[in-house]
C-alpha cells in the first residue's frame, strides 16, 4: 500500500486510539490523590523490616526482586543479541585512525576518568542508603571506561577493558543474582528470600541480601554497557 494510504489509515485509527486513551485517562484518580495501600505500607515498615533507608532499592532488590531478575536477563539477552548481530558480519577492513589532536581534550578527559569511575562506584555502593543503586551506578561506571576511548586512544580503552574480563564480569553479575536466590532455596525458604543477617541501618552493608544483589546488579550492568559500547566501537573502527 502506498505511503499516502498508510498515512490516511493511521490518521483514522490514531484518532480513535487517542479518543479511547483520553477517555481511559480521565478515569484515573486525580493527580496527587493516589491511595494505593501497598506503597504506603512499604514506606512505613521497610526501615524496621529490612534496615534499609532507600525504600525503592528495597523494592527493587527484595520485595519485587524476582522482577529485577527478569530485567537483568533482558539486559543479558539484548547484549548477546547485539554481539551476535554485529560480530558475524564484520569484515577485515582497514582500521580508522583515531587520534585526539587537541591536548586540552585529552588532558581534561583522561583526568576525569578516575573521578567518573569513582562516582559510579560510589553510587552503586550507596544504593541502600541514598538514591542510587546498581542500575544507575553501573551505567555511570561504564561511561567512565568509555571516556578512555573518547579522550584517548582506542588501544588504551581496549587494554583497560579486556574482553575476557568484561565477559566474566557480566556473567558473574547475572549468575550471582540467580545464585543468591538459589541459596535462599537451599536454606529452606522461598526463592530470593532475605536470609543473610540484616545489618545496621545507615551502613553500606545494611539489608542483608539487598546489598549483595545491589552489587551483583551493578557489576552486571557495568559489564553489559561496556560490552555494548565495545561492540559499537568495533563496528566503527573496522
Amino acid at each position: 500500500m502506498s505511503r499516502n494510504t498508510r498515512l490516511a489509515l493511521f490518521a483514522c485509527s490514531g484518532a480513535t486510539l487517542a479518543a479511547l486513551f483520553v477517555w481511559g485517562l480521565t478515569g484515573l484518580p486525580a493527580f496527587g490523590g493516589f491511595q494505593g495501600e501497598y506503597g504506603q505500607i512499604l514506606n512505613r515498615v521497610t526501615g524496621q523490616e529490612r534496615h534499609v533507608t532507600n525504600v525503592v532499592a528495597a523494592i527493587v532488590f527484595d520485595y519485587r526482586g524476582f522482577d529485577t531478575l527478569g530485567e537483568e536477563f533482558i539486559l543479558f539477552a539484548a547484549v548477546m543479541g547485539v554481539a551476535l548481530l554485529l560480530r558475524e558480519a564484520r569484515g577485515e577492513g582497514e582500521r580508522r585512525v583515531d587520534i585526539v589532536r587537541s591536548d586540552f581534550v585529552r588532558a581534561v578527559g583522561l583526568a576525569s576518568v578516575g573521578p567518573v569511575v569513582l562516582v559510579g562506584l560510589f553510587t552503586i555502593a550507596h544504593g541502600v542508603l541514598t538514591p542510587g543503586g546498581g542500575f544507575q551506578g553501573g551505567v555511570a561506571t561504564a561511561s567512565g571506561l568509555v571516556l578512555l576511548w573518547a579522550a584517548g586512544r582506542y588501544r588504551a580503552y581496549r587494554r583497560a577493558s579486556p574482553h575476557a574480563l568484561v565477559d566474566f564480569a557480566e556473567w558473574t553479575g547475572a549468575g550471582a543474582y540467580a545464585a543468591v536466590g538459589i541459596a535462599a532455596l537451599v536454606a529452606g525458604s522461598a526463592y530470593l528470600t532475605n536470609i543473610v543477617g540484616l545489618g545496621v541501618t545507615g551502613t553500606l552493608a545494611a539489608g542483608g541480601t539487598i546489598a549483595i544483589l545491589n552489587l551483583a546488579a551493578g557489576l552486571e550492568v557495568t559489564a553489559a554497557v561496556v560490552l555494548l559500547c565495545h561492540e559499537f566501537l568495533e563496528e566503527l573502527m573496522s
Binding site: R3, R6, L7, F10, G14, A18, F21, V22, L25, T26, L28, A30, F31, G32, G33, F34, G36, Y38, G39, Q40, L42, N43, R44, T46, G47, T53, N54, V55, V56, I59, V60, R64, D67, T68, E71, I74, L75, A78, V79, G81, V82, L85, L86, A89, L129, T130, P131, G133, F135, Q136, G138, V139, G202, V221, A224, V225, L228, E231, F232, E235
Partner: protein, 114 residues
Amino acid sequence: MSFLPYALAAWLFFVGLYGVVTSRHLVHLVVCLGVMQSSTYVLLLAIGYRTGKKAPIFLGVSPKVGAVDPVVQALTLTDVVVSVTTASLILALVIDIWKRSGTLDPDELRKEET
C-alpha cells in the same frame, strides 16, 4: 489542571507514534520509539504522586512523614536502563540492514522487496 501530567503522557505517546509512522530514516525511528517509552515513565510516576509528600528515602527522617508511592518508581528505574539496551539491539539490526541493502529509508526498503 490536575489532568496535565496524564495529558503529557498521552501527548508524548502520540507525538512519538506520529514520528514512527512518518519517519524517513531508521535511526530517527529509533529515537521516536524512545520518546514513546518516556511517555510510559511519565504516566507511571504521575500515578504514584501524592501531593505534599517527598521522595521515599528515609535517611535521617522518620517514616511517619509519608512519601510518594515507591512501587512505581521501582518499576520505572530498571525500565529506563533496560530501554537503552533494547534500543541498541534495534540499532544493531539497523546497521545490519544498512550493510545488506545500503539504504536507511523505510519506504525504499519496502520498494526493494517488491
